[in-house]
Amino acid sequence: MLSPAILLAAVLNGLMTGAVYALVALGLTLIYGVLHIINFAHGALLTAAMFAAFFAHQLLGLDPYAAAVFLAPLFFLIGYGLQRFIIGPAAHGEDRNILLVTLGLAVIIENALLYAFRADTRTVDLPYAFDVVEVGATFLAVPRLVAFIVVFAVALGLWLIMRWTDTGKAIRAVAKEKRGAELVGIEVAHVYALTFGLGTACVAIAACLLIPSYYVNPHAGNAFVLIAFTIVVLGGMGSVAGALIGGLFVGVVESLSGYFLGESLGQISIFVMFILVLLFRPRGLFGERA
């Protein structure tokens, strides 16, 4: 029953799924790399963005891909505002507090969504949702292929921003040496908020890529966040390339182990990998030494 065609299909499928994981992880790793906190509100923000994409389609008739163009800046602003006016001030400079504030935000956002939209599962029916591209013996769904390409474009864009712009340099400076950055006149609070905004924008794009083939309910985002945490650890905290490659890798591992061990047991391999990385290479595949 193990034919190369099936194996290829499983790997391709894993890459497609992994790309979206990577994008969610990208936002998370960016925030971690600079703010040195795990953003527990990441899943809730993803859910919120999925709702936004859903309603953009339902009420404004916007295609989710077109909506991404508006939602990414919108969620950038939301992320910026959250960090600048809520998380930052509420944390009083303590990392431990930031953690709790993001956890609190997650609870608030999720329950606000539950209150506003009830627990209904909502789906978007798009004309191209069932279109496929034939690759060998396997069919690749068009929405997943689009997601795959967009994720690479976003990762490239993010890398360019980080590498070549002054903002990117400031972000990297703050990540490396906060006090030093402050001394040369970089406004740390602003950079923190920028980073949080970028991370949230990633999530908004991920939401728009997910909605054509997934569903949204007030808990939909959580399914992706645990995986994203694993990817961040695997790829190296704060590494853009690590998140991308880690995401693809986890996607393939999940797909293959799902195929060989079954969907229930297959999940284990992701977390086994998580523990192994923590044991033998705690800084992750692409992480820099602290």
Partner: protein, 410 residues
């Protein structure tokens, strides 16, 4: 953890919450005193948050509509027109969540609890309720051990696995025989908690006895993010029949992925398929839903009360799913028992439930008779999605259409 972690000390916090609780209770008490007959509190327990929240919410709709109807038509007559006061609980899609709610409901003095939805929640919640002799009516939970543990307080109005699986298999054999036996091989896709695993185990022993070969059984977690791997496996083995047993979201994802990957077995025959007989699924994905068969809970299409309820639910912009009418029926069953017990004594309600012959429900069941907590009249029906509607195909006494099998090639 440093000592000054909380700005409010633990003692202060406890004091203030206790004061708050006392104030709420005093408020509730005065409300009781104002009313003519003391309202009867009933626990309405569903997983309205977490992975099962859609089903939980639907169940809550059914239960609360029944309560509204009872209250607006004079309340519980044997108790001087006492109104039913629902105490809504959220099991958060976990057995522990269910337990916590049962404890709260018991402390609040409910007369009985209806709900649970998932088998795993029903199992633990009813057990907790049993400690307080608190009557517990299982709304859906189909695992047979729910009623075989000897718990006196636990009643299940709907059918359990045993009877559902038997009916499903009998009807599957009939269906296959009528079509000239086109189906020989089967793959089972099931979710991996008590419900899906229990069902899969049952099917694994019984399908081979009836001449079907099981190619593979694939478990998956709830929630599952992706079904491409599962569908790949199905594609590789090319079974005649696919039998999914999972909850709504996963069922829809599976069916959509199968449509996307152009996997078309001769039939998709679900047993308690989460979405297979759901109007929501049929409306939102008519292409993926077409021809899917299901053996599941269903309302009596010939009962005017069931149709009136359908209209009422659809007017509320909700879908008429099995959670709704099952909870509706369970709540009416309980109200009837409380009427006959003529009070809220838990022992008397349990006794009244045990000899219930309640007929005012909306299900296509035989006469109500409880043996060890299981309603012997309960039975599932077979449905099939045909032309954007859900038709009953078995049993003949309720059927509204003839089955289409094997699935026509697109």
């Amino acid at each position: 953890m440093p000592r000054q972690f909380l700005p409010v000390s633990r003692r202060r916090l406890l004091q203030s919450t206790a004061a708050g609780a006392a104030a709420t209770m005093a408020g509730a008490l005065s409300a009781v005193l104002r009313a003519q007959a003391a309202p009867v509190k009933i626990g309405v327990l569903h997983p309205v948050s977490g992975a099962l929240s859609y089903s939980g919410q639907q169940g809550r709709i059914g239960a609360t509509i029944a309560i509204e109807e009872i209250n607006s038509t004079g309340g519980l007559k044997a108790l001087g027109g006492a109104k039913i006061e629902p105490m809504l609980g959220d099991a958060q899609s976990t057995p522990e969540g269910g337990n916590a709610e049962v404890e709260k409901m018991n402390a609040a003095g409910v007369a009985a609890i209806v709900g649970g939805y998932a088998s795993s929640i029903c199992l633990s919640a009813s057990q907790t309720a049993a400690r307080y002799d608190l009557p517990y009516i299982v709304d859906v939970g189909v695992v047979d051990s729910i009623v075989t543990r000897g718990l006196k307080n636990t009643f299940r109005f709907g059918p359990g696995f045993g009877i559902i699986a038997k009916t499903a298999l009998d009807n599957l054999v009939t269906l296959n025989d009528q079509a000239g036996k086109p189906a020989k091989t089967v793959m089972i896709v099931h979710e991996d908690s008590a419900f899906g695993s229990g069902l899969a185990k049952l099917l694994e022993t019984q399908l081979p006895e009836r001449g079907f070969q099981i190619l593979e059984t694939i478990p998956h977690p709830t929630p599952a993010r992706d079904f491409n791997t599962v569908v790949l496996k199905i594609k590789a083995q090319n079974p005649d029949l696919v039998i999914p047993a999972n909850y709504y979201n996963e069922y829809v994802l599976l069916a959509r992925t199968m449509q996307q990957q152009r996997v078309r077995p001769k039939g998709i025959y679900s047993v308690l398929g989460g979405a297979a007989s759901s109007y929501k699924f049929v409306k939102e994905f008519p292409g993926a839903a077409q021809y899917i068969m299901d053996c599941n809970h269903w309302f009596d299409p010939k009962n005017p009360k069931a149709l009136a309820l359908k209209k009422k639910i659809e007017e509320k912009n909700a879908f008429y799913t099995y959670e709704v009418y099952m909870n509706y029926s369970c709540m009416l069953l309980l109200a009837d028992a409380i009427e006959r017990a003529a009070g809220t004594d838990r022992g008397k309600i349990i006794a009244a439930l045990a000899d219930s012959t309640f007929a005012g429900h909306v299900m296509p069941y035989g006469p109500t008779r409880f043996v060890d907590g299981q309603n012997q009249g309960a039975a599932p029906v077979n449905t099939q999605v045909l032309d954007n509607d859900i038709q009953v195909i078995f049993p003949a006494s309720f059927a509204s259409a003839r089955p289409v099998f094997p699935m026509p090639r697109a």
